[in-house]
Amino acid sequence: MRLIFSSLLALTLLSAPGAFAAFASERIIIVTHSDNTGVRLSREQIRNLFMGASVGRDLQPVALPPGSRTRSLFNIKIVGLSDSRVQSYWAQMKFTGRRPPPQIVNSEEAMVQYLLNTPSSIGYLTADTDLPEDLVIIYATD
């Protein structure tokens, strides 16, 4: 029992090993159609939207597939969880019938096309993406 208590303490006190440091320098932009130019969302609202909550407008989140590097960056910088924890979350939502996960597109090129064709959608891309005129950035990470 003592062993378990000290392990619990060790788990809590262990300093962050910098597991995700490699990603730190890359930036993510949150992008939507220029029809939604007036839309302002905080990081928290974007997080909630991509975790299945409504933000009062019918904006449909679009995600990249699990395993994609940009998806990992988005999960780390906006959602604040590792890929596997986000996967666990969606497994819970889906298999309890509560909320379906966001629509998934297969690549960043497909994301750009999808956002152009579906003005009510919102997605994420790496900051160095060449954006067509009809897409606008509504949030950028540091």
Binding site: S7, T12, S54, Q87, A91
Partner: protein, 403 residues
């Protein structure tokens, strides 16, 4: 009811389709997804059974395979169902839930049909092992849930403001079927009417608070107890007879707080179940958990406890021996009912690890020290009633898969 021959069926199904990674869209409208778990466990106790486990390695207690077909008529209307094949005899295999879902906007979600009961955080997703870090979610909270599904309807509302996200869910329905007490199927049918509950979840940054309240009217007739009760009424022992009533209201209250960061997570959940009849004691269960995430690895530690209140039995019947054999038999039967009702405490300490080795698969291992601090916690099953306090280690490994 489908009974599958055992874990072999689950394993072969897994191996056959292990290459199919994600949900399969058969047509634009029909999607098939699912999950599976293979769990092995061993209990270090020579004579007791805990959650189905004994001192022989078993793969058949919690392993399962679930398939979830879902058909969308359009963006707003769909039907979903879930079929689960359990390897354990304590759980019924077959249709776990099936309902019609209507989402008029992203803020509202209505469901009607056979639904999972959303008592506690993981109640409706208890079978989806992939969604939580443990092999077995704390039994003191999750093995006391009375039933896993109900027939009825639920309404859910979501809103995310600038800094708060809110989800409110209300449901109403009824249930008829097997009753569980401390994780063991009681061989009687129970009838639950006017089942209603409300669940509020509030998220702010990394913090999540869930509070819920559930109530129902429950009737469970245990044949031997009913017979004894009738005899007591007939002989004028009304107080004693009344204390054996097994029909009345049941109330469950739950509160939990979770804090999640990129590298760590903390969770505490507390539940309290009270019944309006004396033969069923009040139970309080809770757990505290902390975990760390290091790349694909998760390490976690949990302390968990359950406490039963004392049952209120009547002292109207004279204690044997009274010189009257018939009287003695009646008294003995009455006091035995209460002597077999759980009224102890169980503490447990769990250390576990999870490795997410693929995007949709995880391996887990955990060790739990189970300690009764007051005898008859209700979790250690034994052939005879016995007032000793038991303790044991439970070792478990698991393979979790979603597709």
């Amino acid at each position: 009811m489908i009974k599958i021959p055992g874990v072999a069926a689950v394993v072969s199904a897994l191996l056959l389709s292990a290459e199919a990674c994600y949900a399969e869209k058969l047509t634009d409208n029909l999607e098939i997804s699912g999950f599976a778990r293979v769990i092995g466990g061993y209990l270090s106790h020579s004579s007791r059974r805990f959650d189905g486990y004994t001192n022989e390695v078993s793969l058949d207690e919690q392993s399962l395979l679930a398939v979830q077909p879902s058909y969308s008529f359009n963006d707003k209307l769909s039907v979903s169902s879930q079929f689960v094949a359990h390897t354990s005899d304590d759980r019924d295999s077959g249709l776990e839930w099936a309902y019609l879902s209507y989402q008029p906007s992203s803020a509202w979600h209505f469901r009607a049909g056979k639904l999972r009961t959303p008592f506690f955080i993981y109640s409706d997703g208890y079978d989806v092992g992939y969604s939580y870090p443990w092999v077995t979610a704390p039994v003191q909270v999750y093995n006391n849930y009375l039933f896993s599904n109900f027939n009825g309807a639920s309404a859910s509302y979501y809103h995310a403001g600038n800094s708060l996200a809110l989800n409110l869910e209300a449901y109403y329905g009824y249930f008829k079927g097997d009753l569980f007490l401390a994780g063991t199927k009681v061989d009687v049918e129970t009838e639950v009417e006017d089942l209603a509950g409300i669940v509020a979840t509030i998220n702010r940054n990394n913090l999540s608070l869930r509070m819920s309240y559930h109530q129902a009217h429950n009737t469970t007739e245990i044949p031997n107890v009913s017979e004894l009760r009738s005899q007591l009424y007939a002989l004028g022992y009304n107080d004693s007879a009344k204390s054996l009533e097994s029909s009345g209201n049941v109330y469950a209250l739950q509160t939990s707080l979770s804090y999640d960061t990129l590298n760590s997570f903390y969770k505490a959940e507390w539940v309290n179940i009270v019944t309006g009849y004396e033969i069923a004691p009040e139970i309080t269960g809770y757990y505290l958990m902390a975990g760390r995430v290091i790349n694909d690895w998760t390490l976690h530690a949990t302390y968990s406890r359950s406490e039963y209140s004392a049952v209120k039995m009547s002292n109207e019947l004279p204690m044997p021996p009274t010189g009257n054999p018939q009287q003695d038999m009646l008294s003995t039967a009455y006091y035995q009912v209460f002597a077999s009702t759980p009224n102890g405490n169980l503490d447990s300490y769990t250390l576990g690890t999870r490795w997410d080795f693929r995007m949709n698969m995880a391996l887990k291992a955990e060790i739990t020290l189970l300690e009764e601090s007051r005898s008859r916690s209700g979790f250690f099953m034994s052939p005879s009633s016995n007032d000793s306090t038991e303790n044991a280690y439970l070792y478990q490994v698991a393979w979790e898969w979603i597709f």
